[in-house]
Every structure is written in structure tokens, then in C-alpha cells.
């Protein structure tokens, strides 16, 4: 039996595919699906943290209004200090808003990471190589030549090509994850800088103090209808306040003071939420760093805690914008 050239080629190909399989089993530590999930969670963390670290436009505008109320009450709207305060608020808010772009850039990084993880290079390359092999076979038929390699062999080549493409993708994902982890680590350290923390948390706290003081002043002046507040307090027992409750408050000083205290505490709790959300945002970034390391090491990733923090950040963000019950998001 003579040894045909195709037999040698088939033997070499078999040996090669065994070798590639061995190499592949040694390299396949990165889980592409886990990378895809991490990219989504990473983006959600970034968006959540971004909303909770910087003063929103609404917070800043409310503080400006509050300064107007306070200076209006004291008859000092013509005082130079009033305008200087407003100008300072404008400049500081502008400066802080420019820093928020860091979160936008981090979200872009996770979008790009998601794109990289979302590619199905293995299947696409295998299909493309199969497509190429098929077109070469067709060409051979059309030009009445013998096909350079058999159909079985092309199937193996396609599979090997797909595996190699998938491994290349995993290597690129690992590379990207290492870089992203470094960036997130640097950013979380920046946010942990005591001066940066005091700048961001402190400024928001000052804005809320302005709002709280103005609200207390307006409440004492009797301009607010207490019914929604009383309805909210009574909701847990199915109670609503009477229609003419504002009249009761006009003559009942103790009741007015009591509700004033409720308002004061509800606003004060927002300052606690600002601190809580800042710390939760940093905690989330640290969890992201751990998740990236696990991805790179091929260890299983559990994104449950990260997703819980994202939900918590969303909850805090809602509480900071609404004046609902005084429930905290502490868990």
C-alpha cells in the first residue's frame, strides 16, 4: 500500500489538532460569558456611583433658591455677600460637574469591554473558515480541478481556527481586564483621598443645610399645607389628614413645632444618605476590582453583592430627590 500525500497531510493535521487541544485546555481560564456580565454590572456601578457622588443640578438649584429665601427674609438681597455666595456656588458646581466626566469615561470603558466580550469570535471564525473552505471547493468544481483538501479536513481546520480565535479573544479580554482593574483601582483611591471626599460630601451637605434652613423658615411662616406630610405619616395606619388641617396648625403651636421637627429630621437624613452613598460607591468600585481579578484568574465570579450595591445606590438616589418617608436604605 503506497502512502499517499493526503495520508501524510491527514496525519499531520490530526497531530496538530491534538496539540492545539492540549494547548487550548491549558490556556482557557477566562470565561467570556462572565466577562460579558461583568461589563454590564461594571457599567451599572459606574452610572449608579456617578449619580450619587456629585451634587445634582436640582440640589444646587434648590440651594440657590434657599439662599434667596434666607436673604429675602433678612432684607439683605442687596448685600454683596449674597451675590458672592451665589457666584461661588455656580463656580464650584461647574467645577464639580466637570469632574463627573470621569464616570462617563469609565462607563465608556465598560461599554467597550462589553463589545469585546460580546464578540462570538470562535463561532464566527469557524463559520467564516467553513465558508472559505466551501467556496474553495466550489471553485475547484467549477474549474474541474480536484479539491486541494477533503471536506472532513476542512471541518477540522474550521474548528481549530474557531478555537484559536476564541483563545485570542480570551487573551485580549484578560489584557483589557487587567488594564481596567488598574484604572478602577486608581479611581477608587482618588475618591478615598480624604480631601476629595470632604470636597464632594461636604459641598453637598452644605447645599442641603441651606435647603433645610430655608424650609424651616418657610414652615414657621405658615405657607405650607401640612396635609401631604400628615397623610404620609398616617399612611402606615391607613389614615389621611382632615381637609382643614392647615387651620388647626395655625392655632396649635405645639403641633406646628412637632411637624417642623419632622421636616427638619427628614432633611437631615439626606445628609446621612449622602455619606452612605459615597461610601457605597467606593465599596462598589472595590468589588469591581475583585471581580476583575477573579475573571483574570479564571475563578468563578459572583456579581450578587455588586448588583445589590447598584440597587442600593439607585434607592439612595431616589430618596435624595424625593421627600417620602424617613426610611433609610440601611440593610
Amino acid at each position: 500500500m503506497r502512502f499517499q500525500p493526503n495520508d501524510v497531510f491527514d496525519l499531520r493535521l490530526t497531530a496538530f489538532s491534538i496539540l492545539v487541544s492540549l494547548m487550548v485546555s491549558a490556556c482557557s481560564s477566562v470565561n467570556i460569558d462572565a466577562a460579558r456580565q461583568l461589563s454590564v454590572t461594571g457599567r451599572n456601578v459606574t452610572v449608579g456611583a456617578g449619580q450619587n457622588i456629585y451634587a445634582s443640578d436640582a440640589e444646587y438649584l434648590r440651594a440657590r433658591d434657599s439662599e434667596a429665601v434666607l436673604h429675602g427674609f433678612s432684607g439683605t438681597t442687596n448685600a454683596p455677600s449674597y451675590q458672592t455666595i451665589l457666584n461661588s456656588y455656580d463656580r464650584i458646581h461647574r467645577e464639580m460637574s466637570q469632574r463627573a466626566v470621569v464616570f462617563e469615561k469609565l462607563a465608556d470603558v465598560y461599554d467597550a469591554f462589553g463589545e469585546l466580550s460580546g464578540l462570538d469570535t470562535g463561532a464566527q471564525t469557524e463559520a467564516a473558515l467553513g465558508n472559505l473552505a466551501g467556496s474553495v471547493q466550489e471553485y475547484a468544481k467549477l474549474t474541474k480541478q480536484s479539491a486541494p483538501i477533503s471536506g472532513d479536513v476542512t471541518a477540522v481546520i474550521s474548528q481549530i481556527g474557531g478555537i484559536i480565535a476564541s483563545e485570542i479573544q480570551k487573551a485580549k479580554i484578560k489584557e483589557a481586564s487587567i488594564q481596567i482593574r488598574g484604572n478602577v483601582d486608581s479611581f477608587s483611591k482618588l475618591l478615598e483621598n480624604p480631601l476629595v471626599r470632604e470636597q464632594l460630601v461636604g459641598f453637598r451637605s452644605v447645599l442641603i443645610s441651606d435647603v433645610k434652613t430655608a424650609l424651616n423658615k418657610l414652615w414657621d411662616a405658615g405657607v405650607y399645607d401640612p396635609k401631604p406630610l400628615l397623610d404620609d405619616i398616617g399612611a402606615v395606619a391607613g389614615l389621611t389628614a382632615q381637609k382643614g388641617v392647615a387651620q388647626i396648625l395655625k392655632t396649635n403651636t405645639d403641633l406646628r413645632k412637632a411637624l417642623g421637627e419632622v421636616i427638619d429630621k427628614r432633611i437631615t437624613i439626606k445628609i446621612d444618605l449622602i455619606v452612605q452613598s459615597y461610601d457605597s460607591s467606593i465599596e462598589a468600585l472595590k468589588h469591581l476590582i475583585v471581580a476583575h481579578k477573579k475573571l483574570e484568574d479564571g475563578a468563578p465570579i459572583d456579581l450578587t453583592r455588586l448588583r445589590a450595591i447598584v440597587a442600593q445606590l439607585r434607592g439612595i438616589s431616589i430618596l435624595l430627590t424625593k421627600a417620602k418617608t424617613g426610611e433609610t436604605t440601611a440593610q
Partner: protein
Amino acid sequence: MVKKTKTEAKMTSIVHDGKLTQAEALKALRIAAQAATEALPAALAQCQTDDERRKVQADRDTVLLAYLNSLQKTLIHTGALFENTAGDLETEAANVKDTSTKLKNVSEAINLFADLVRLAGSLALAFA
């Protein structure tokens, strides 16, 4: 002479003990500003005249402005850190996008080649 040195040293340790960081100083100013603001309604309620009200408001504004001016100065120090971080992240996003584009191009290139071979086959048939 010894007495004067002792007094100077005591004043130095009160004013500059080297332990107050910028963050702590800013926080102290911020707490003072918040306290002054929140005490404003009660203080204004004690005032009998417009002049008294203006004085109380001016005192409060002074404390708040001391904090805001200090905050603005510290923002200059930390601004570059954020700019650098944003720059690094922008570069990283571009690198990762570039990588995924190149990976996509591989299978697209193979498919393109397959299409070219089919085209060649059609043309060869035309000349058969």
C-alpha cells in the same frame, strides 16, 4: 528671653502643630458654615431692628464664604488628578474598542476572501 521663647513655642503649637490636614481644616470650616446657616432663623428671630438682622446675616455669610473660598482653593489642588484619571480612561476605552474591532475584522476578512473566491469561480465559469 527664655520666657518669650516659651510663649512663642506655646503659640506655635496651638496654631501650627503640624497635625491639621487640609481635609480636616476644610471639614472644620464646613461644619462651622452649616452651623451658622442652621442657627440663622433662631438668631434672626432675636433681632429687633433691620440693622441687627443685617448684621446677623452678614456674620453668617462671612462664615459660609470662608468655607466656599477654601473649598475653591482646594479644588485647584485636586482638579489635575481627576483630569488625569479621565484621560487614562479615555485612552483605555479607545484601546479596548480597537481590540474588538481588530477581532471582528479577522472573521470579516475571511468572509470577504471567501466571497472573492466565489467571484473568481463565477468569472472562471464565464471563460470556460
